[in-house]
Amino acid sequence: MLLIGENVNIMSETIGPALRGRNPKPIQELARAETEAGVDYLDLNIGPARKAGDELMTWVVNTVQEVTDLPLSLDTTNPAAMEAGLKVHKGRALINSISLQPERLEPELPLVKKYDADMIGLLWGTEGMPRDAAERCVLVVDLVYRANQLGIPNRDIWIDPILTPASGEINQVKACFEFMSMLNDIAPECKSVVGLSNISNGTPTHLRPYLNRSCMIMLMKYGLYSAIVDAFDSELIKIARGEMPEIVKLVHRVMDGEKPNLSSLSQKEAEYVKTVRVLTGEALYSHSWLEI
């Protein structure tokens, strides 16, 4: 599995001001720390960047490339900023993201070929968020068709099925899983990516890693190719690197219907099992899900 560090983000209390003030130090420190933590890509999220987005993206790509050799995931909804970043990016960049909304699709799809980049295909349609697995299937077919028409091969498209918070409508989370189990049949050779931390949006901060890790393991069962993650969750990185095979097997057995006796498990195992039960919809989410 490839991991994309999410931490350089305009929403962050330290990185936001650094981006706006063009202060390289906090950004370079963070990029260096993410690189050391062992992720494969760094996501640079500058948000919508409506004003001077192109200049900001150029600056942040150059700033980060001074301290790391990792490829970058350029994360903005501003097509001009996207192109500016691609121009100065060394090596093969990842465009994060292109959706089916015409204002994103039309200017950005040609950039994939022009700059020899990979792209994240976000399953967000003209009518917004897909409601179930079937609507995701329709969107992926459309998106891949449009990309193929421009000569973009499936292997360069990383499909993002849109993961939503476990503390909200759990049927949406289930729809995302269901779609992931079908992706390979619908769009062979397409890769996949999720914004993993979305699953724990709305959950108290100290509990978020539990949801993130379990959710990633569940998605691994469906062949998840990559995830945008908190680079500093070392347990998550160990899981992705294959260093916790027993936990992965346990989660997958529970997904297959096994109901282990919680009292026979270690505390850590029990926490994973309880979290999987929430993510499958078997148990209703509450902030105290680990305690009951």
Binding site: L284, H287, S288, I292
Partner: protein, 315 residues
């Protein structure tokens, strides 16, 4: 081949809780099937209706709502007795509207004194509903708990912010707690967990998942109640196996659709009939979503709902 009607498989049961004390106490809950699914399971205790009494004379009620209580609206004890003697109330809900800091801001001692007088004057269960200001409710409901020790009042609303203090005093003085959350099944479950952790016994908790009138988002309230009931009955979710209480009367009677006079907008029709029907229909919808206790206002709306309960549960 004979047609086999599919049946829901239930694995859980809603807890039974006893409201009030003595001969006139009332047990609610205990369902083993979805609301009125008598063909799939049991409803050992039919849903009950509590009649509202206000602790200060209502100011903005439409004429239709005031008329049944003419002459008693300035005296909560007389009002409660009228509900019992004239309208056959089985439960009273005293709405402590006067304690609202944005209104009369009546103090805790005075409010508790009124509660005590009503509690002493009646022998049916008494619900005491605060003003939904966490700080003020904490002060008032703690005092109410204390002065009414042993009466097994049903007190609320108790939210996440004030659950510790109000919950602790309810435990200490043996009252039932109304766990209130804002139209969100996950938060409802969480508050029940927190109250359980605090030590509120499972047989002393009733849930209020927040309701509103038809036309004001009742469908969202319905979905949350429905989802909670599904979790409790089919997913063995013990933290959602509590009866549900709905404070619906006051939601309906504040809607502009019950306040507009017929002469202002003739196409809306008779104002009295309109208010009664709006309350009755809102209440009926909540019954279908799983309400165990409805807090209602107009005697005729109550009668309509009782008739429906009787019809839906007739042998």
């Amino acid at each position: 081949m004979a047609l086999e009607i599919p049946k829901t498989s239930y694995s859980g049961k809603i807890r039974e809780i006893r409201l009030g004390k003595g001969d006139k106490s009332i047990t609610v809950g205990g369902e083993t099937a979805y609301p009125f699914y008598l063909f799939e399971g049991g409803i050992p205790n039919l849903p009950k209706i509590a009649m509202e009494v206000y602790d200060s004379p209502p100011e903005e009620w439409p004429e239709a709502a005031l008329e049944p209580f003419a002459g008693v609206t300035d005296d909560p004890v007389a009002w409660a007795k009228k509900c019992i003697n004239d309208y056959g109330a089985e439960i009273i809900c005293l709405q402590l509207i006067s304690t609202d800091p944005n209104g009369l801001d009546r103090g805790a001692d005075e409010a508790a004194e009124v509660v005590k007088r009503v509690a002493d004057a009646i022998d049916i269960p008494l619900i005491v509903w605060g003003c939904s200001n966490e700080e003020k409710d904490t002060e008032v409901l703690r005092k109410v708990s204390e002065v009414c020790q042993g009466k097994n009042l049903i007190i609320g609303p108790v939210g996440e912010g004030d659950h510790k203090k109000i919950g602790a005093s309810a435990i200490g003085y043996h009252h039932t707690v109304i766990a209130s959350t804002p139209i969100d099944v996950n938060l409802a479950k969480q508050l029940n967990i927190l109250l359980g952790n605090l030590g509120v016994p499972d047989d002393s908790l009733i849930m209020d998942t927040t309701v509103s009138s038809i036309g004001y988002g009742i469908e969202y309230c319905y979905s949350v109640m429905e989802r909670a009931r599904m979790a409790g009955l089919t997913q063995q979710d013990e933290k959602l196996q509590f009866p549900v209480i709905c404070n619906i009367g006051k939601e309906v009677w504040k809607a502009k659709e019950v306040k507009i006079a017929e002469k202002e907008d003739p196409k809306l029709g008779d104002a009295r009939k309109r208010g009664i029907l709006m309350e009755a229909i809102s209440a009926m919808i909540l019954l279908l979503a799983g309400a165990d206790v409805l807090i209602m206002r107009h005697p005729e709306a109550i009668k309509l709902v009782q008739e429906m309960i009787a019809e839906l549960t007739a042998e």
